[in-house]
Amino acid sequence: MTSSSISPIAPRQNLYRRVMSAVSLIMLFMTLFVAIGVTNFVYRAEQAAWQTRRIEAGRSAALTIDTFIHEIQNYVMLVGTLDRQYLEDNPRIMHRLLEQNQALLELMRLDREGNIFAVAHRNNAPVLAHIFTIRLSSWFSQARAGQAYIGNLQLSATDEPYIIVAMPAADGGVVAGRLRMNVLWDVVSSSRFGQTGIVYMVDREGNLVAHPGRDNVLQRRSLALRPEMAAALAAPDHEWQGAYFNFEDENVVGFTTPVSGGNWLIFAEISRDETLRLTYQAAAVLGGGVLALGILMTVLTSFVLRRLVLWPLERLRAGVARFGLGELDYRLESERPDELGQLALAFNDMAAHLKQRQERIVQQERLAAVGQLSAGIAHDFNNILTSMLGFAELLRQAPDTPEAVRDDLARIIGPGQRAAHLVHQMLDFSRQSIRRPQPLDLTPLLKEIVRFLERTIPENIRLELEILPGEYQIEADPTQMQQMLTNLAINARDAMATGGLLRVVLSRAVFDGEATCLECHRPITGKWVQITVADTGSGIPPDVLPHIFEPFFTTKAAGNGTGLGLAQVLGIVQQHAGHISIDSREGGGTTFTVCLPPLPGPVQISQAKAAAIPEQQGRGELILLVEDEALVLEASRRMLQRLGYQVLTAKNGREASEIYRDHRDRIDLVLSDMVMPDMEGLALFTRLKQQNPDIKMVLMSGYPLQEKEACLLEEGIVDWFQKPVSFAILAETIGRVLSRR
C-alpha cells in the first residue's frame, strides 16, 4: 500500500466540492431561470394591465369629452333654430339660454353677413365684438359654409382659456358660442390613473389643449417636436400607443385616441418607471427570495449529501484505508440497507478474502522457506549420510569384522537410515525429491499397503479397506503412494488413542466444485481417483486446521512426531497433480480425501520388485566415479569395489574428462555426482558425450532433477539415483545399467 492512497484529496478533486459545485450551479441556473421567467411573466402582466388602464382612461376621457362637445354642439344648434324676430323681440332669451349651460361663456346669433343680432355673455367682458373681422374669421366662414366649427384652444389676455364653437343656424346665418375650457380641463384632470398616469389633450399640431398641469397649457407647450410622436400626430383619426419622452422629458408609455372627430388627440400616459414598479419589485423579491431559496436548497442538499453519502463514504474510505494499512480484521459498518451498505459488505468480504489469502501466502511462503531450507541441507546431509552409511556398511560387511562390532555398526546404520528418511520426507514435502513416476494400478498397491499397516497399528483400531468397483490406474511413484498412506494412517492412529475405526476407501469420483482443495483452495472438478482415509478420532480443532500441513507443526508431544507427516502428504499430492481435502469435526473424526488424476485407459503395470543385496555382482568392469566430496568418493569407490567393479576416481569434472579421454576404451560406465563446484554433472556428460556418443552414465544427486535436466537424461544418461546411496540401490542400478549393454 502506498501512502498516496490515504493522502488528503486536492480541493479540485474533492468529490464533495465537485458535487456541490455542480449542485450549486444547477440550483443557480434553475433559480435564475425561474426568477427570469416569473419576472418576465410579471412584466408582461403588468404591462398588459397598465396598457388596459391607459386605454380605459384614454377612451373614457375621450368619451366624456366627445359627449360634452356633442352636447354643446346640440345645444348651440338648438339655439340656431330659434327665430330671429323672436330673439330680437325677447333679448332676455339669449341670456337665459346662456345661463342654462354653464360651459358657455358667450352665445350669439349672426346673420349671413356676420352681423350679430342676438348676443349674451357672462359677467366678464365679452371677448367677441361686433366688428368687421367676424366676416374674416374662420369660425364664421366655416359655419356660414354649413360646417360645424370647433376652434383650437385660445387664451385670453386674462389667461382665460376658451374655445369657439360655431354652427350653421337654421336661417342660413351662424350661431356661435365661446366655450369655457375648464370643463375639459376638469375631465382630463380627473382622469388620473395609477400614481403618475395622466390624461391630456393636444391639437393636431401637438399643442396642449387640456392638461392637468394648467401652466403647461398656458405656456403653449407642445409635443410637436418629438420625433417619436410623429406617428401619433400623423394619424389623428386613429388610436396609437407607444413609448416616448413627453414634453417634460419623462420616459413614458402612452395611448392616444382621437376626440371630437380627430380635432384633438387624447393622451393617456404614465411614466415607464411606474409601469415597471411591480416588475422591479418582482425582480427584487424573486432575485432575493429565489437566491435565498437557492442557498437554502444548496445547504440542504449539502447536508443531505454529507449525511447520506459523503460521511458514510468518508467512513468507508477511512475503513478501507485501514484495510490498506493491513488491518484486515477491521470490519466496516454495514447495517445500512442501501448501496453503501452493500459496498461495505463487499469490502468486508474482500478484506476477509484478503486475510485468508494473506494467511495462505504467509503459509505458503513459510512452506516454501522450509522447502528451500530442506533442499539446501538435504544435499549436505545426503553426502554426509552417504559416506557415513557407506563406511558403516562396508565395515559391517567386512569378513574380518567381529560380531559384536557388527551389532554396533547396525546401531549406527539404523539411525543413519532414519536420518536419510527424514531428509527424504523433507524433500517430498518441498517437492524436491527424486520421483520415479510410473503407470500404477492402485488396487494391489493399496491392498499391500493396508496389509503392511495392519502390522503397524494397534489392535484396538480396526482397519477397513473398501475398494469400489472401477479402474484405478494412475501415474504415480509407488514409494510416495505408500509413504502418503502410511503418514495418513499414522495420523489417524494417533487421533484414536482409545481405539476406533480406520477406514480406507478407494473410489472413482466426479466432482463439480462441491469440494475444495485444501492446498490450492480451488474447487475440485472433473473425474478423479479418490482415496479416502477416515478415522473416528478426536477430530482436528478449527484453530489447528489451517496449520496441519505446515512442516514441523505438531500437536503431539515432543518426540512423538516430527511434524513432517502431513506436510509430506501434501507435497506428494501436489507432485502428482492431485488435490487433498479434509472434513473434520471436533470429536467426530477426520476424513482426508486425496484425489489423483486417473490415466485414460488400462496400461501395462510393472510390478515393483524388492531388490536383494548381491554379494558380488561385478565382473571387473571399469567404472569412472566422479565425486567432489572426498569421503563420499571414497565410500562409493569402496562400495563399487566391494561389488566387484574396478574403479577410476576423479574429484571434479575436468579431471574426469581427462581420465575418460585416456581410458575411454576401457571405461564401461561413468558414475557422477550431479552437483560439483567446477563442472556440473550434466556439463560433464555433454563433454564426455562428444568423445563417445554411446557413453553410459549414471548420475547421483542430493537434489531432484529439474525439468531440463530430465530431458537431457533421455540423450544418454541411463539412470540416476538419490543420495544417500545405499548398497542395495547402488548394486541394483549399476547392475541393471551394465547389463543393458
Partner: protein, 356 residues
C-alpha cells in the same frame, strides 16, 4: 506596432482634445434684427428699450409701400421682421416666404383680441400676428367745404378740384374709386375695375398724390391747401392740434379697413430674436405706447387700459361698430386679380409719364 504605441496615441489624442479648449471662445456676434415697417410707426425709443432688455439691436428700415418690400423679399432680400397687411400674406405663405411662428416664444399672443385671431388670410395665425389696424377714410376741412362731405364720391366733386389729396397706393386708390362707384374694394371684375380706373383717370388732374407718411396730409389740411384727403386717424389727431375744423369722415359707401401684421420671413437667420421682438412689441404697455404715438386702433386687448383715455374715447381712433357697417377690409387678390390690379395701376401711373 512601434515600441511605445500607446503613450504616443494617448499624447496625440490629448493634444487634439485640448486643442479646442485652448482656442478662445468667440462670443457670438451681436444679433441685429432688420425690421421693415411703415416709416415712423414704431419710435426709436421703443426699439432702444428692446435692445436694453434683450441686447438685440434693431435696424428699422421704413418702406414706402408694402408691395415694395414684398418684391424685395421675392428677390431674396433677407429681413427679420416685416409688417404686412392681411391681403399680402396668403401669397407669401404659399411661396414659403414666411416662417411659421413658434408661439412658445410669443406668449404675449394671448393679448391679441379674439376678434383678430384665426382669420381667413392666415388660419390659426401660423405666420402672422395682428399688430395694428385702422380705418382709411376722408380727412376734411369741414369749415372750407361747401356741403358736408360724407362719401368717397365727394372726391370727384368739382368744387374741390385741385384740393384733393391721396396716397399713391394702388389698393387704396383703386379701392376708393371702386367704393365711390358702389363696388367692393376687393372687386376683381375687369368691368368694375375699368370703371374705377376711368374715374381715377378723370380725377387725376385734380388730385394731389403724396407718399404715405405719418400724418402726411395734416399740414396740407391745416394750411387749407387741401380740403379733402384720403387719410387716417393720425392725420386727424395731428391736424386738429392746429386746426379744430379738421374732421374725419367714414364714407357712406364704406371705409377701407386695414390690418397690419408682424411676419417673419422664412429667410430670417434670427427667427428666435425676431419672435422675441414681436413678443416685446405685443406687451400691453409697449403696444399701448405705440398706439399712443400713432393713434392706431389696436387689436391688443391687454393694451387697452394703457391707452390715453383721450384716445381711447376718440371715435376717430376707435369707431363704433355701427359706423363700420359698409366698411370693407382689403382682402387678398387671386393671381388673376393681382395681374388685373397691376395693369390698372400701371395705366394710371402712365398718365403722369404722358403728361411729362
Amino acid at each position: 506596432m512601434k515600441k511605445y504605441p500607446y503613450p504616443v496615441v494617448f499624447l496625440v489624442a490629448l493634444i487634439f482634445l485640448l486643442f479646442p479648449a485652448c482656442t478662445p471662445i468667440v462670443p457670438p456676434p451681436p444679433t441685429e434684427l432688420v425690421f421693415r415697417n411703415w416709416e415712423g410707426d414704431i419710435s426709436p425709443a421703443i426699439l432702444d428699450a428692446f435692445e436694453t432688455e434683450y441686447g438685440i439691436t434693431v435696424a428699422y428700415l421704413p418702406y414706402e409701400s408694402q408691395e415694395e418690400v414684398v418684391a424685395e423679399m421675392r428677390a431674396g432680400k433677407v429681413y427679420d421682421v416685416v409688417v404686412l397687411e392681411n391681403q399680402l400674406i396668403p401669397d407669401l405663405v404659399a411661396h414659403g416666404l414666411l416662417a411659421e411662428i413658434d408661439y412658445r416664444n410669443v406668449p404675449n399672443f394671448k393679448n391679441i383680441s379674439a376678434n383678430f385671431r384665426d382669420l381667413l388670410h392666415d388660419p390659426e395665425n401660423r405666420h402672422s400676428i395682428p399688430y395694428s389696424c385702422g380705418t382709411t377714410g376722408l380727412v376734411v376741412r369741414s369749415d372750407l367745404a361747401a356741403e358736408p362731405i360724407t362719401r368717397w364720391a365727394d372726391m370727384w366733386d368739382e368744387q374741390y378740384a385741385g384740393k384733393v389729396m391721396a396716397w399713391p397706393l394702388s389698393r387704396y386708390l383703386l379701392g376708393a374709386a371702386l367704393k365711390s362707384a358702389g363696388f367692393s374694394v376687393n372687386s376683381e371684375s375687369p368691368q368694375e375695375l375699368e370703371v374705377a380706373l376711368q374715374r381715377l383717370i378723370a380725377l387725376r388732374p385734380h388730385l394731389i398724390l403724396r407718399d404715405w407718411a405719418p400724418a402726411v396730409a395734416a399740414p396740407y389740411l391745416v394750411s387749407g391747401e387741401i380740403i379733402v384727403a384720403m387719410g387716417q386717424a393720425d392725420d386727424v389727431v395731428e391736424g386738429r392740434k392746429q386746426q379744430p375744423a379738421i374732421n374725419y369722415v367714414l364714407p357712406e359707401e364704406g371705409a377701407i379697413l386695414w390690418s397690419d401684421n408682424f411676419t417673419i420671413p422664412a429667410a430670417s437667420p434670427n427667427k428666435k430674436a425676431a419672435e422675441q421682438l414681436i413678443n416685446f412689441l405685443l406687451r400691453a404697455d409697449i403696444s399701448a405706447r405705440i398706439a399712443n404715438e400713432t393713434y392706431y386702433w389696436l387689436p391688443n386687448d391687454a393694451a387697452l387700459p394703457y391707452i390715453n383715455p383721450e384716445l381711447r374715447n376718440n371715435p376717430v381712433i376707435f369707431p363704433p361698430s355701427s359706423s363700420l357697417q359698409n366698411a370693407e377690409i382689403l382682402l387678398p387678390l387671386s393671381p388673376a386679380g393681382e395681374v388685373l390690379y397691376r395693369q390698372m395701376w400701371e395705366r394710371f401711373l402712365a398718365l403722369d409719364y404722358e403728361r411729362q
